[in-house]
């Protein structure tokens, strides 16, 4: 909560950011004093927790693996894969829970709830266990989420006299309620040895416990056979109760009643059961172990209303919806209850792969799975670091993912070149040329601002941005005119085919080539190149003077380099240049000195050209004898 200091007369203004809101105090008046603070309100703190980050990263890995499961396998073969993926997700949640537990973080309880829900969804929807196995899975589910039994048992066993520990009977009853009959029998054995007088009844109880049938899904017994067997056993237990066999020991009598599934007895042990769903499962275990999935919801409703431990919580309604096989309701309730889209996005995605979600389109956006994934990924994008994960999520949202990605990727802050390269790689792999161009332009401008022309040029080459390349080439040339040397020679020398990106760039490359040729004393080729630069109109007019001046040393050589024809062309260029310079549009504020220099240059050129022409004519006219 943000509290305004002295709230009278003050207002709160806000502005949307990316995933957050900036809130500030204001008077909405031009003058007056106010608090200088801006508060940033983030709607999702979870993504900033370092431990939860592991959850996001690991689950991203699992998510990507899930998307790449081959579509052509029959669904029969895919179910074990889906179940194992579901278990992977759950183990990631558990790993986080353990770490959070150590650091006493309150998010643990939320993760516990999430894992509970996910586990139930796995049992009911993904594994879709039929009658018989269903109860076994539900038993596992309950056992997994009631860890205090083991703690209590450990305490009892480690005490001097376990059978006389005050929690002893609690432990035994808890074991029975969870269907862990072997362990219950072991515990009972300890009491039995202490009270040899009551040996008989203990033996009887042990007998009953050992004979309770459990359905074996992999076995040869059919469900009906199991049912028959179970009923026999049930009748036997009932007979023992009616015979008052356990009348002498109150605890054993209670156990017997539990084995019969007596509702009142079960209710008496509310605190041991803890939750209504434990109550539900225990009751099913002892009343109706062959419960069918379709019958579940009836029992769930009934048991929920009889045993509300506390005020109805969101968790309860989610679980109820799950028992009713109403997947959409589960997802909807979870979306509302949790402040982070992680859970619903991943669960929905998995369920969608299992083909359990009817593909009804929402009246906005696309289907449910895509909507949730987009929301989740958009949330990730607001994180300074986790945005990279979000890219994969967008990739697997077929309808709108690309659009979202295009919009978001441009807003990733580009602090270093390395980060820019990574973002660029993402864009290039997806042929997002607009974004590539925009990112390269940002980096190029930044380089330009720091006078790093070579860097700016490479960025514009990468973006294939001709206009910008032209701009930078101009800068290069201006630099050259100012300083007489080139910077970033290596880059210009190695342009290769990139040179053709823009005319100015081509000129720059070729001009540099001219310098190289000159440096290697390959004068004829250098001369030819120089001439072609002007005649082919590659060189901008403004640069011709410089080029002609570069030609001077070649003209002054003892050896004739420019042929007569070439000299004529040079003269032509010079005339073209001077005629345009002499037009009145030339700058009138050129100082006298500059004009002088210009004139001298032109004269020198004229002289050199004529001399060269003379020598060339003579040379070409000479007949070799």
């Amino acid at each position: 909560a943000i509290h305004l200091q002295e709230p009278e007369g003050k207002h709160m203004g806000f502005a949307w950011g990316q995933g957050n809101i900036f809130v500030y105090e204001t008077l909405f008046k031009a003058t007056g004093s106010g608090s200088p603070f801006i508060h940033e309100v983030r709607k999702d703190e979870d993504i900033y927790s370092p431990i939860l980050r592991k959850l996001f990263n690991e689950s991203h890995h699992i998510f990507v693996g899930l998307q790449t499961i081959r579509e052509d396998l029959p669904s029969k073969n895919k179910k074990p894969q889906f179940v194992s993926i579901s278990k992977n997700y759950r183990s990631v949640i558990r790993a986080c829970m353990e770490e959070l537990h150590i650091s006493l973080n309150p998010t643990v309880s939320i993760l516990l709830a999430i894992e509970l829900i996910w586990n139930l969804c796995e049992v009911l929807f993904i594994d879709a266990a039929p009658a018989g196995s269903l109860l076994l899975h539900l038993l596992d589910w309950v056992r997994l989420h009631k860890a205090d039994v083991d703690e209590k048992a450990r305490d009892v066993l480690q005490s001097d006299s376990p059978a006389e520990h005050r929690d002893y009977w609690d432990v035994v009853v808890s074991y029975v309620l969870q269907g862990r009959l072997d362990e219950a029998r072991q515990m009972l054995g300890k009491k039995a040895t202490l009270t040899p007088a009551a040996n008989n009844i203990f033996k009887m109880m042990d007998n009953l416990l050992s004979k309770m049938p459990f359905y074996n899904p992999g076995g040869t017994q059919t469900l009906t056979e199991f049912d028959v067997k179970w009923r026999h056993w049930h009748e036997e237990v009932d007979r023992c109760l009616q015979d008052n066999s356990f009348a002498s020991n109150q605890h054993l009598e209670v156990l017997c009643k539990i084995l019969l599934g007596d509702e009142d007895t079960l209710l008496e042990h509310k605190d041991l059961l803890g939750t209504w769903y434990h109550f539900l499962v225990s009751r099913l275990l002892f009343c109706h172990p062959t419960v069918k999935p379709t019958e579940l919801h009836y029992y769930a409703q009934v048991n929920y209303s009889t045993k509300t431990l506390s005020a109805p919580e969101p968790l309860d309604s989610i679980l109820l919806a799950a028992f009713e096989f109403d997947i959409h309701q589960v997802i909807k309730d979870c979306s509302i209850a949790l402040n982070n889209w992680w859970f619903v996005a991943h669960l929905t995605d998995l369920l969608d792969h299992c083909k359990l979600l009817q593909s009804h389109n929402l009246h906005f956006g696309s289907n449910l799975r895509e909507f949730l994934l987009l929301e989740y990924a958009s949330g990730l994008f607001t994180h300074h670091s986790l945005w990279q994960l979000a890219v994969d999520y967008f990739d697997h949202c077929l309808e709108f993912g690309r659009v979202y990605l295009e919009l978001q990727i441009e807003r990733v802050p580009l602090d270093t070149e390395r980060k820019a390269l990574k973002v660029l790689r993402i864009c290039e792999q997806r042929q997002m040329s607009e974004q590539v161009r925009s990112i390269c332009k940002i980096m190029a401008m930044r380089a330009l601002r720091n006078n790093r022309l070579g860097s700016a040029l490479s960025w514009s080459i990468r973006a294939k941005d001709a206009a910008f390349a032209t701009l930078i080439s101009e800068r290069f040339l201006q630099d050259y005119c100012a300083k007489g040397t080139f910077s970033d020679l290596d880059l210009i020398d190695n342009l290769g085919p990139a040179m053709l990106l823009s005319d100015r760039l081509t000129f720059l490359g070729k001009y540099r080539e001219f310098h190289k040729l000159y440096g290697e004393k390959r004068f004829k080729e250098a001369a030819k190149l120089l001439l072609s630069l002007m005649t082919a109109k590659i060189a901008p007019r403004s640069f011709w003077m410089t080029l002609l001046t570069d030609a001077l040393p070649l003209l002054e050589q003892k050896e004739v380099i420019f042929s007569a024809d070439q000299t004529y062309e040079l003269m032509f260029c010079l005339e073209e240049l001077t005629s345009s310079l002499n037009t009145p549009s030339s700058d009138s504020d050129k100082s006298m000195q500059e004009e002088d220099v210009e004139l001298t240059k032109v004269e020198l050129l004229r002289l050199a050209l004529s001399r060269n022409l003379a020598m060339a004519i003579v040379k070409e006219g000479t007949v070799e004898t």
Binding site: G65, T416, L421, R452, S458, S487, D490, N494
Partner: protein
């Protein structure tokens, strides 16, 4: 490949480095350092994979990295090197260079020295992109195009090698300056006063794609391997310069690091943006091993670009054989499945450590070398 486990560490790892072990002991390395990037608060951390007296097997795997200590770091860690067994140097995206000291007894890290603006533009920060250590000197390179030499015990920079305007490599090639930095060390004796770069550090003309990483063969200093933006692995002979001896299509995206194995240089490791870490093994004179443990592996015939001149040299390395005549190159993927970009790797002995953008560290203690 069964020996490799992921440890999720809640920070994107940009560099991992083993703490050097003394060569006299034949121990495998146990301690490594990591640097993070792209976090609001970046950190330099020290991890251990040794056997702990107290942990038992509660973390599941013996050898699961445990964090020993960490220290805040301003800006992304762009490079990290160990000066010696206790000190490490980091290069930051803010342009700063810092020396950290790790105290193994108290498991703490302290800052020994900090040069805040080793590299900078007039109006901005220039990231320091790479550094090379040869105790007590540290040579760093930054996006501003300068090479700066520091000494570990001195306050200011010892030498700044120019604005590099006349011979500046394009900024993507900053890390290739590492190579020339290596040459600078060698040439220092000759160019004491001017600290010039040697004129021709094998002007890599044929190379069009920007380079990101460079490594030298530990024994034969003229052999250099490079990797760049196009993911190609090039092996060069610096004496002949110009064109690479062999070009291999290694990865489908930028290659971030390439490393020769320090004691067994027939092995080379590369890691890349495409999420794979490859182990290259060249058969020198013996029969190529017909088995390689685990994982997908494929034979890659190197495309020779240049046959070694001068006929048979007695000490020519298998890396210099352009054609497949002398044997194939075997490559193995070292990571179990597609991960996010692998930013960094380091190998000593049989232990390999690498860090990814998926905020995971992978350690393999039984690399077949």
């Amino acid at each position: 490949m069964e020996n490799i486990n992921a440890k999720y560490v809640s920070q994107k790892i940009s560099k991992t480095r083993w703490c050097p072990v003394s060569y006299s002991s034949l121990q495998q390395p146990e301690v490594f350092a990591t640097g993070s990037w792209d976090n609001e608060d970046n950190k330099v951390s020290i991890w251990s994979i040794g056997n702990h007296n107290n942990s038992g097997l509660e973390d599941g795997f013996e050898g699961d990295p445990q964090i020993l200590c960490e220290h805040k770091h301003g800006g992304d860690v762009l490079d990290l090197q160990f000066l010696d067994q206790e000190r490490m140097v980091s290069a930051s995206s803010t342009g700063a260079v810092t020396i950290f000291r790790y105290h193994p007894n108290t498991h703490t890290i302290s800052v020994l020295q900090h040069w805040a603006r080793a590299h900078s533009y007039p109006c901005d920060n220039a990231p320091c992109t790479a550094l090379v250590c040869s105790s007590p000197e540290i040579v760093t390179v930054g996006e501003d195009g300068r090479i700066v030499v520091f000494r570990a015990d001195q306050e200011g920079a010892v030498r700044v090698i120019g604005e590099m305007r006349t011979r500046m490599l394009p900024p993507h090639k900053e890390s290739s300056l590492k190579l020339s930095v290596v040459f600078v060390r060698e040439c220092r004796q000759q160019h004491n006063s001017r600290g010039d770069l040697p004129k021709d550090h094998g002007g890599f003309d044929g190379d069009r794609a920007p380079l990101h990483c460079v490594d030298r063969h530990p024994n034969q200093q003229h052999i250099v391997a490079t990797g760049g933006q196009d993911g190609m692995l090039c092996v060069w002979d610096v004496r002949q310069g110009g064109t690479p001896i062999s070009l291999m299509e290694a990865h489908s995206a930028e290659m971030w690091e390439v490393r020769f194995h320090p004691t067994n240089p027939d092995h080379l490791f590369t890691c890349s943006e495409d999420g794979s870490l490859l182990h290259w093994e060249t058969a020198s004179h013996s029969e190529m091993p017909s088995f390689l443990q685990g994982g997908r592996n494929s034979s890659v015939i190197s495309h020779g670009a240049l046959t070694p001149a001068g006929g048979n040299r007695p000490l020519s390395s298998a890396w210099l054989c352009g054609d497949s005549g002398k044997g194939c190159l075997e490559t193995t993927h070292m990571l179990p499945s597609q991960t996010m970009s692998v930013n960094s790797l380091d190998i000593i002995g049989q232990c390999l450590v690498c860090g990814t953008d998926g905020e995971a560290i992978f350690v393999n203690r039984h690399v077949p070398v």
